[in-house]
Symmetry: C2
Subunit: 130 residues, 2 copies
């Protein structure tokens, strides 16, 4: 085998290795979704109780649910926003089939006035390690 | 001191203790802000590079910056959303005075087409401990 051929094989090996690194890095980025809900003011406390229970169970029981954060807009307490971090899209789909999620949907279906779901592509997720 | 008076003092002590517990629990809830930015499409890569550097520095250097998450809307890649978690409001104000934040503001001021800042009240922040 001559030097030129060896260099060429080396180039292919390097390219494969680099593409493997790129795929691995991309695979590490979680799947993030945002939801914006408006809640019936008369049912706000009941809604919060139900969603807190569902969030706690999801993060505790489901390996692919990394985080669910729920906040209300300070100036509009019935507008609730979610920032949800899943290991990947499959983990999100599995979450929607979980018994605790289905119970939440059934319990709160008449409490929610509007719902906007936003699929996202993470740019960077920076946090302190706990 | 009679039994009635003792009971009354006990009640006051218990009430003070319970209010202390309530304050401590409230104090543990972080301060969360949301930002929605629209970036000039021609400057999107430069904007992302600048904000990633600023986010990384903020979380690494500032004790009160717990997390900054940046995502783009999948259907509108120039619409960037931030979910920011601070130890408290003072940590947020201190962050805005940091040299890395000021550098980011200066670098990106002509790249940002619109900006909406939303103050929030956390309902629940559930995540897996790292």
């Amino acid at each position: 085998m001559d030097a030129k051929r060896l260099t060429s094989i080396g180039g292919v090996v390097l390219a494969l290795w680099l593409s493997g690194v790129a795929v691995a890095q991309e695979a590490r980025m979680p799947y993030v979704r945002i939801a914006e809900l408006e809640i019936d003011p008369a049912r706000l406390d009941a809604y919060k109780a139900s969603v807190k229970e569902e969030m706690e169970a999801s993060v505790r029981v489901e390996p692919g649910v990394l985080a669910i954060y729920a906040v209300a807009e300070k100036d509009h307490p019935t507008k609730v926003r979610f920032f949800e971090v899943y290991a990947d899209e499959a983990a999100y789909n599995s979450h929607r089939e979980s018994p605790h999620f289905k119970k939440y949907v059934e319990t709160t279906k008449d409490m929610i006035k509007s719902r906007k779901l936003i699929e996202t592509v993470p740019i960077q997720l920076s946090d302190k390690k706990k």
